[in-house]
Assembly symmetry: C2
Homo-oligomer: 282 residues x 2
Amino acid sequence: MKEMRGATVAAALTEQAAEKMGKLQEKQVIPCLSVIRVGKREDDLSYERGIGKRFEKVGARVRIIELPEDVSQAELERAFDAENENPLVHGILLFRPLPSHLSDRPLTCRINPDKDVDGMCPTNAARVYLGDKNGFAPCTAMAVIHLLEHYEIPLSGAEAVVIGRSPVIGKPVSMLLLNRNATVTVCHTRTRDLAKICRRSDLIVAAAGVAKMVGKEHLSENQVVVDVGIHMTEEGLCGDVDPAAAEICSAITPVPGGVGAVTTSVLLLHTVQAAERLTQEV
Amino acid sequence: MKEMRGATVAAALTEQAAEKMGKLQEKQVIPCLSVIRVGKREDDLSYERGIGKRFEKVGARVRIIELPEDVSQAELERAFDAENENPLVHGILLFRPLPSHLSDRPLTCRINPDKDVDGMCPTNAARVYLGDKNGFAPCTAMAVIHLLEHYEIPLSGAEAVVIGRSPVIGKPVSMLLLNRNATVTVCHTRTRDLAKICRRSDLIVAAAGVAKMVGKEHLSENQVVVDVGIHMTEEGLCGDVDPAAAEICSAITPVPGGVGAVTTSVLLLHTVQAAERLTQEV
């Protein structure tokens, strides 16, 4: 079984971003991402540190907009609009979920689609769904695709099973695979005989959000598995796939160190692409 | 083999529309659809006549905006904008494809999503993709779903195969089935061993656009088949499914008289729903 580690994929994407940075610098443009965070959730802070390190590698900027846990909807929207309108900001990442007294809906409706580097607005959803390459897919969904392409996994004609149909991972991954000519089956909690459906596929993307739910009975030889899950258990971090069972597959992404390691570099690449698009001369 | 005819479905949907019409009339609202047609293509004219008859049954209005074959892009857009802004118009249907010197893109970008009764704009695409019930799906895609629901075909947990991934039928049908908890596989020209994938499914929606391409080798017992294709051949009209082969299935839609017979009643229902939405007191 081959391990498909995320770090080499992240390095390759970062290099791609660095090349584009060179051309932008000639035009005095420095790509800048605004991260909007409400409160101090540990996983937000950890992702934020990862973003900071990744962007620093190529000289891209990160602005942290920290708002108090009890910020009002109006204050949140005001802070958001300032970034959305700031011509020196090219990408916006809003940490979600928001505290329960706040709604992200007004923000997803009015974010500039070209700044929407984590693909949260309807315009980018429609672009991903319709196969328009100008759409920004959510970074984790796109990380799955970059990972598969980096390891040269054949997608055209492959039978792919996506477990999960969330708007952030399952659905966009399904559409991105379909646009790359895979034959895609979308599975979910109501799917009957998931194990049988998984076993007969060439590729599994596990994004169910349930620790170790994919076991021996789901897997077969010559199969490539991408594990999007990440769960804290008593024995440490694990994914949606039981690592013991994964031995029989042809290749799998580790958890940690797989998809999660690619996400910040996708965010960087999207931010650099956004900067290119927003500063294009017309 | 049971034949799932469209006419009874159309009658039930028309009745639904008529009920809603009653309530709208109390508010002096008469639902009105504008049909924009460039040139005189025979299939456009035939669909237009079908719409006229269907709308007349319940007293809804149809405005025909006929433009000459050689209309300019600017004139087309002017005519379109007039309907889009007219408060007495609740739905707009643009016949496509347009002649090659014209582009529908500016129109799909600025149609009022609440008047977009044939689901051509990105806002409605995103709604269908994300499972938002306020979205208008393209009428033919929605006709497939109404047909299945009318004949009480169980969708939750069913293994469904959709052949075709067009933005007008294959993709929206896939999303609508997924939102109804089917396990959906999207197949297309690059799919390997389509026959095997079809044979093992509970439900096939054939929207490949190739006459009689679904044959004996794709079908099995206890299977429900919806045939979206319609093709003129030397022996008359036929669908994507070979009628001789279909004998072994549990149920199938005839061609003609299946999905095609439902479409105008979906358009009517969407127009009535649009009228409700656009005249709602806020």
